[in-house]
Symmetry: C2
DNA sequence: CGACTGATTGAGTTTCCTCAAGAACTGTGG
DNA sequence: CCACAGTTCTTGAGGAAACTCAATCAGTCG
């Protein structure tokens, strides 16, 4: 009887815990816990110290601030950017649920860029000291952390490849296509995009001016590829969008063959 | 007496070893050994397995190849680049003596980009398995390795900031200025640059076409900032060059406020 | 409701790309 | 050593793409 009660209360505690635990999180397989199981996962879970919410425009961390944690977007979205000494910005990326930010600070004692909420955003915080301890005890997590850093580097390289494109439309197409891809991985409809960032942010990210971005949206709408209504963008023709990402490539390829 | 002899032969071995050792390397303080001393340095030194030379155009490693070592440029220079499935390239960076390449492979089991010699180039190779073992034993080296990854990320972010600039001249100015900076750190004359990479590589790196780069060199020469003779570039007015790096900061600032 | 920010659209201009030709350098073979 | 072919670089002319400036419209917030 006493055992029964204990089991029941344990179950209750578990339920309460589960609601916030990594194991039960919808982002489980997209996040740091991917491939981590059992007691290892419990250890990681214990380090997820704080889950706080940020209002739109609020900074998660600022460039130059001392580094003490990694963060995962739980809901909402972030942008990361660097500020040159001159005062001009460069948007480095946009971060959706399940994506990890703050990796830039891992390598030094301070952050190399800033991160700011684009809408009301909730965050999982992983204090570095604790994470470091867990990773030293759990090799699988160490490897997973490396994979996360890797993902960051791949993302930066894709950004670079995109910035290297001369055609503005190609850049926007790649941006939207990648966003659509990430929606798919989150099991969200990849044809219904909600652009939480401003046109200025998009333009800056793409290395363009805001008017050009606006015109491109209109042009792609006229071409029947998108349906654009401010922040709500619907991809009507994913096939055409995909084609627009590599139009130039295909053209030069065809030239090379002929 | 017997002790004397042992000491002498040990000294001879040391001399032979020193010629190739990290401790006596001119790049000592710019490279992985920075801040590492004594027996820790000896351990690192023992992992520097192979020092090979590459002819111009030869690949150090190729995108997709399995990763098994980090490399340091000892003399000469490299370019790193990614190839899109479409077949178009994006140059990610140029690497001078003392700079480490291959960090992109650290995080996965294969390389994310390719690296190729721009001239006859000699390389220090650090096999990963051995390095991993040493870093696990030497915390100072672990930290230094993180600093190296950090440097890589900073470099990528600077590249991004540069690609975000709309003015082509600004991009080239930043490129030359950064190159000049790195020459300074190598105790080379920062006003006498030798561009081992082709104009095509520079153009690709800057997100421009080769004709534009060529014209910009001519224009900057006409403005008295540079003396250009193909691969030999002399910075006549470092002050003007520095100014050209941030001329349009104010303009882009307006775009960035959003 | 009015001021403000954000987004769109238009007109005009500049910059940079494209195409094309020629010059300078590199490497090879006679 | 020079001639050559091939590549790389430079320069010019023309045009297209993207930027600048300016006005308007649509949302948002106090």
């Amino acid at each position: 009887m006493a055992i029964e009660m204990t089991e029941n209360s344990a179950a209750l505690i578990d339920l309460d815990h589960l609601r916030r635990s990594c194991g039960s999180c919808a982002l489980h397989e997209l996040c740091l816990p991917a491939g981590i199981n059992g007691s290892d996962l419990d250890q990681l879970d214990a380090t997820v110290h704080d889950k706080r919410a940020l209002d739109r425009g609020k900074a998660l961390f600022r460039q130059g601030e001392s580094f003490h944690a990694l963060y995962v977007v739980r809901s909402g979205s972030l942008k990361s950017f660097v500020e040159s000494p001159g005062g001009d910005l460069q948007v480095l990326g946009f971060h959706l649920p399940g994506e990890i930010v703050g990796v830039d600070g891992l390598t030094k004692d301070h952050h190399l860029c800033s991160a700011e909420a684009l809408e009301r955003t909730s965050i999982c915080e992983l204090p570095y000291l604790q994470l470091q301890q867990v990773t030293s005890e759990v090799p699988a997590l160490q490897r997973q952390l490396m994979r996360v850093i890797s993902r960051e580097m791949v993302a930066e390289q894709s950004h670079m490849v995109m910035m290297g494109k001369q055609q503005a439309q190609e850049r926007l197409a790649i941006f939207l296509h990648s966003l659509s891809d990430r929606y798919g991985r989150l099991s969200r409809d990849p044809t219904v995009l909600t652009l939480s960032m401003s046109r200025y942010d998009i333009a800056n990210y793409l290395g363009l001016v805001v008017e050009t971005v606006s015109r491109l949206f209109s042009r792609m709408e006229a071409a029947g590829v998108l349906k654009v209504n401010r922040k709500a963008v619907r991809v009507l023709r994913p096939d055409l969008l995909a084609e627009m990402c590599g139009t130039h490539v295909a053209a030069s390829f065809r030239n090379a063959i002929g």
